[in-house]
Symmetry: C2
Subunit: 163 residues, 2 copies
Amino acid sequence: MSTTANDQGRDEPVRWLDPAEKEAWTGLVSLVYLLPERLEAPLQRECGMSLFEYLVLSHVSEAPERRLRMSELAFLANGSLSRLSNVVKRFERRGWMERSPDPADGRYTLAALTGDGYAAVVAAAPVHVRAVREAALDRLDAEDRAALARVAEKLRVRPVDLA
Amino acid sequence: MSTTANDQGRDEPVRWLDPAEKEAWTGLVSLVYLLPERLEAPLQRECGMSLFEYLVLSHVSEAPERRLRMSELAFLANGSLSRLSNVVKRFERRGWMERSPDPADGRYTLAALTGDGYAAVVAAAPVHVRAVREAALDRLDAEDRAALARVAEKLRVRPVDLA
DNA sequence: TCGATTGACTTCAAGCGTGAAGTCAAAGAT
DNA sequence: ATCTTTGACTTCACGCTTGAAGTCAATCGA
């Protein structure tokens, strides 16, 4: 069913997409589906980790004392708490991360990088950056990149808004 | 590990991201992770289908005689053949699609919508369009939308390139 | 002081995607 | 005519995400 078809009935009329909107939308959908795989493949092949796993490790590596609260980390990595919890559990098994209650407030859990975890993300960073350049950044000019940042800012939703 | 950190060693020097590049990249990553869920939720809740499932049905509904070759459909929906095969198998079980060898060339499989399948996508279309508008299009101006289409064209990779 | 409430986080069963392995039709070579 | 090669597609085991259900710490009200 084309999203430019006629109103199919509902309380308020459906505002179908015009051609320019459809082009933008189709483009966005293709990015959403095709881009992750292109970022994942080199990371999986060369470092044995997914893009999400890389992002998690990367955010923690940049935090003070290389530790973050799980809720903050979930937000930074754009994932759910349950997804993050499963991922960090796997990292604990690999010896890459450790979890502990936050001394300041027991309701929070801190996730910290181990030495092995830090080494893994340091090794993966160049692979990731190379993939990011090849898949995206090097194919865009400054105007494109500015537009991406602008669009993302306008569309971004904080996980709290999903609750 | 920040993607703006120093070279960690490799054959050719790593071209770390500058601040503008990092902002664009961070924005793109958040789109890739957060957008699908916002499109999925209303479709799952109101129509019992995922975004990918909707896209598959939608493309077939727009094809001549509401039938397409699996390879073409996989391309249009931005998914792999094995993913599509699994999805269409589920659609067959629901009574929404049928598969048959292409009479013109037995190497190809045709996927066709049934009456029930067509009704399902017709019902889902307004839900999808509403979600697309709320999550993305209505938050962007014409310049943003043009930029999205342009960026997607530059980054788009056809599935054949992934082989 | 104590019970109720709220929010952070974990767990795990169910469902889905991936990708290697396999099947099959058509094309090409001999 | 027959065998080999190629490409389309399917299958299925494995691993991952989701989200409901549950646990636990801190806060609030009586």
